[in-house]
């Protein structure tokens, strides 16, 4: 507090305790902590932080309002540009975006912009009843309003819906699952993003007039052309997400007890297998190995601990420096006692006579030359084979795009190499008129905030293209 260059960290649950429960890890700021942290902001004339934000949150303004103690106004300021602040405050990689550009970072800790965003959003949720007409141009929401269909209710879809409904569009989101939120509800665990918060943010959008149709699989229940021809939509935004989980294509991968991270996390999060007596089962595992080094791998390994594993291990083929996961997540995982087997690569999954997994055979790796991604690529060390015993394996090495929409939309251009929908990343326009796409279905697996940025850009294009 006394030092301008030192950040006020959020207090967190003790690692040993939290590794055995599903409650959120950081407690959030107190009012006093938030005001002190906000007061560190230098209020730069030309704030660089805003340039680092994919949705251009007016950062110095909202932080200034927190410093003045006007928390409600701060929340409102954020919501002008970001419909999901309580989510972004928790899961955005601020250290790579806004906070990376903060001038204070040159001499000390950058302002904790993410923590402050979370604080303002939480404060509003807990203290203010939302005025549903806030910022909505109700005059335009007439019967003649243009109709927009949004496919998928994850971060890209929700953001696009929010932008369009505020501008007088008649917006319907089609969600394939039985609950709205996409990766926010099936993927990201409760301890990192409480589901109640996602529900509230979605409820806010519904209060603005967004309709959400669940259990509707576009590509099967209706095609994109059906949405235009039968349902008379004027524009369609495809935000269907990353899709099919990738596997390593090694022996034993379909043994009993081997999960994709999508399945493991879906069982635990969406299907609530982490509660007592769930209707959907999950193999809890005594010794669990998660393969991968991204945020999803961290989420899986930390979920395994909370489900009661005695040992939860990460196997990753490069070193810690190359891990794509956020530093904070890796740190949290280490604090909780996750065992990291770095520079190791699985070559075979071993199963017992009953078909259930008993271990993973790995080889040790060393780092060679930098590859196309700029990361040093791992090379096998000959004769270094060893086996790690386990009873559950979670494969968290990424996803490939879901084929349902590409297969059923003949005139939509698809990347031959990656299977993603080809769309201009700056405006979301695709090869098909009045069809837009954004988020993981265009970029491959990326972050919540990038998907939100894409949702916002597509909304802008839709408004332009349908004007007049």
């Amino acid at each position: 507090m006394d030092n301008k260059f030192t950040r006020i960290n959020m207090k967190e649950q003790d690692p040993a305790a939290r590794a055995r429960n599903f409650d959120e890890v950081p407690y959030g700021y107190t009012d006093g902590e938030a005001v002190s942290e906000a007061s560190r902001c230098l209020k730069c004339k030309k704030p660089l932080c805003v340039n680092g934000c994919p949705v251009n949150v007016q950062i110095p303004e909202f932080i200034g309002l927190i410093a003045d103690g006007d928390f409600a106004a701060a929340a409102k300021k954020i919501k002008e540009t970001n419909a999901l602040p309580a989510i972004c405050g928790r899961v955005c990689p601020q250290e790579e975006q806004c906070e990376k550009l903060c001038i204070l970072g040159k001499k000390g800790d950058p302002v904790a912009i993410g923590n402050l965003e979370r604080f303002a959003a939480d404060w509003e949720r807990e203290n203010v009843s939302i005025n549903i007409n806030d910022g909505v141009n109700t005059e335009k929401s007439a019967p003649a309003a243009k109709k927009a269909a949004i496919i998928g209710s994850g971060p890209a879809g929700l953001t696009c819906a929010g932008e369009l409904v505020k501008n007088g569009f008649d917006v319907t989101i089609f969600e394939a699952l039985h609950e709205a939120g996409g990766v926010l509800v099936y993927g990201i665990p409760e301890f990192r993003l409480p589901k109640q918060i996602v529900k509230q943010e979605i409820k806010y959008l519904e209060s603005l007039g967004v309709k959400i149709v669940k259990n509707f699989v576009v590509g099967r229940t209706a095609t994109i052309d059906d949405l235009f021809n039968e349902e008379k939509f004027d524009a369609v935004f495809v935000a269907s997400g990353a899709g099919l989980p990738s596997f390593m294509k090694i022996a034993g991968e379909n043994s009993v007890g081997v999960y994709s991270a999508n399945e493991y996390l879906t069982r635990s999060n969406l299907m609530k297998a982490y509660i007592q007596n769930p209707s959907t089962p999950i193999m809890k595992g005594r010794r669990v190995i998660t393969v991968g080094g991204g945020n999803v791998a961290m989420d899986s390994a930390r979920t395994a601990l909370r489900l009661g594993a005695e040992k939860s291990m990460i196997v990753y083929r490069r070193s810690e420096a190359e891990m794509p996961a956020r530093k904070a997540e890796v740190h949290h995982a280490q604090e909780e006692g996750i065992e990291f087997h770095l520079l190791c690569n699985p070559v075979e999954i071993i199963a017992g006579g009953n078909g259930a997994v008993t271990g993973v055979k790995c080889v040790r790796m060393e780092l060679g030359e930098a590859d196309a991604s700029g990361r040093r690529s791992p090379v096998v060390i000959e004769g270094s084979e060893f086996t790690l015993d386990c009873d559950v394996v979670v494969i968290a090495i990424g996803n490939s795009p879901n084929p349902l929409i590409p297969e059923t939309t003949p005139d939509l251009k698809i990347s031959e190499k990656r299977g993603t929908i080809v769309a201009d990343e700056s405006d979301g326009r695709t090869s098909k008129k009045f069809v837009y796409a954004g988020g993981d279905i265009v970029t491959g697996a990326a972050t919540v905030i990038l998907a939100m940025g894409a949702g916002k850009a597509a909304a802008k294009s839709i408004m332009q293209d349908l004007a007049g």
Binding site: H178, R220, T221, S260
Partner: protein, 277 residues
């Protein structure tokens, strides 16, 4: 919420349920399935669509009480509703004029076979249907299938209806008599499918089997339903559920289907409706 329009017990643990689902009724093709949840806390389970009426806007499912969720479903009443219903899912059956086609259904697999038989007959095929079950009361849709097929043959394990023995015994006889088929479709319990497909393969008949692995989302997202076909991992929900039988790794499917056996047995014991059924 999806309204339950009618419900009928076909035998001891097998039920037929008609659901108000106009969009699915309009879109569905033979071979496709739905995923449903009886209530807001239930598991998601896949069930094949047995019949539809697009004009009236309903679909029918036929299911056997196997675990907690099917028991729960069987406990719902007409006028009530199922909480969630999504579909139609999966790739439709490839229907064209193949010539002489053999359709083989076992147990609860008879229900999903019926729309395939109808579609194949409508496409001008000469369809021989063979259906089998443990006993007479488990043979369902007999008159419907008889009407849709050029010929219907029946087997029961205990001989209470048709030939005594398995469906495989019937086509052993047919093959021995020199009958030839251009194509076969097989749906039923996995052990029956494995045995039936081994015989059709030996007889040199190209065969499709409709697989029923454990699923969660049914849209390709989770990979729970993965099966090995032709040495490659395929997702039954988006790549299937029908695959060319000679390429299927049956033993892997059998093992994976048993993943939650203990859990399912406990769920069945704990379920009140199950005792009523």
């Amino acid at each position: 919420m999806v309204e339950i329009l009618s419900k009928q017990k076909l035998s001891g643990t097998v039920w037929r349920m008609r659901l108000h689902a106009p969009r699915i009724a309009r879109k569905r093709k033979a071979g496709q399935f739905v995923i449903l949840r009886p209530d807001g806390d239930s598991e998601r389970i896949p069930l094949t669509i047995a019949a539809v009426d697009a004009a009236a806007g309903w679909i029918e499912i036929i299911f056997q009480v196997m675990g907690g969720t099917t028991a729960q479903l069987s406990g719902l009443s007409v006028g009530g509703s199922v909480h969630d219903l999504a579909g139609p899912l999966g790739k439709p059956t490839r229907v064209e004029k193949f010539g002489k086609v053999l359709c083989v259904g076992g147990g609860v697999g008879i229900a999903p076979l019926y729309p395939i038989i109808s579609a194949l007959s409508e496409a001008g095929n000469d369809v021989t249907s063979i259906i089998g079950a443990r006993s007479k009361e488990l043979i369902m849709l007999e008159s419907d299938i008889a009407a849709a097929s050029a010929r219907l043959l029946i087997a029961t394990d205990n001989g209470t209806h048709g030939t005594k023995g398995f469906v495989t015994d019937i086509f052993k006889t047919l093959f021995a008599a020199g009958e030839r088929f251009d194509l076969a479709f097989v749906i039923g319990p996995v052990m029956m499918m494995k045995a039936a497909c081994a015989l059709t393969a030996a007889a040199g008949i190209k065969t499709y089997a409709s697989l029923n692995p454990i699923m969660i989302d049914g849209t390709g997202m989770c990979g729970c339903c993965r099966v090995t076909v032709g040495g490659q991992t395929k997702f039954a929900c988006v790549d299937g559920p029908e695959f060319e039988a000679s390429e299927i790794d049956w033993d892997e499917i059998i093992t994976r289907l048993g993943s939650y056996k203990d859990f399912e047995a406990r769920a069945r014991e704990n379920c009140q409706e199950c005792r009523l059924a």
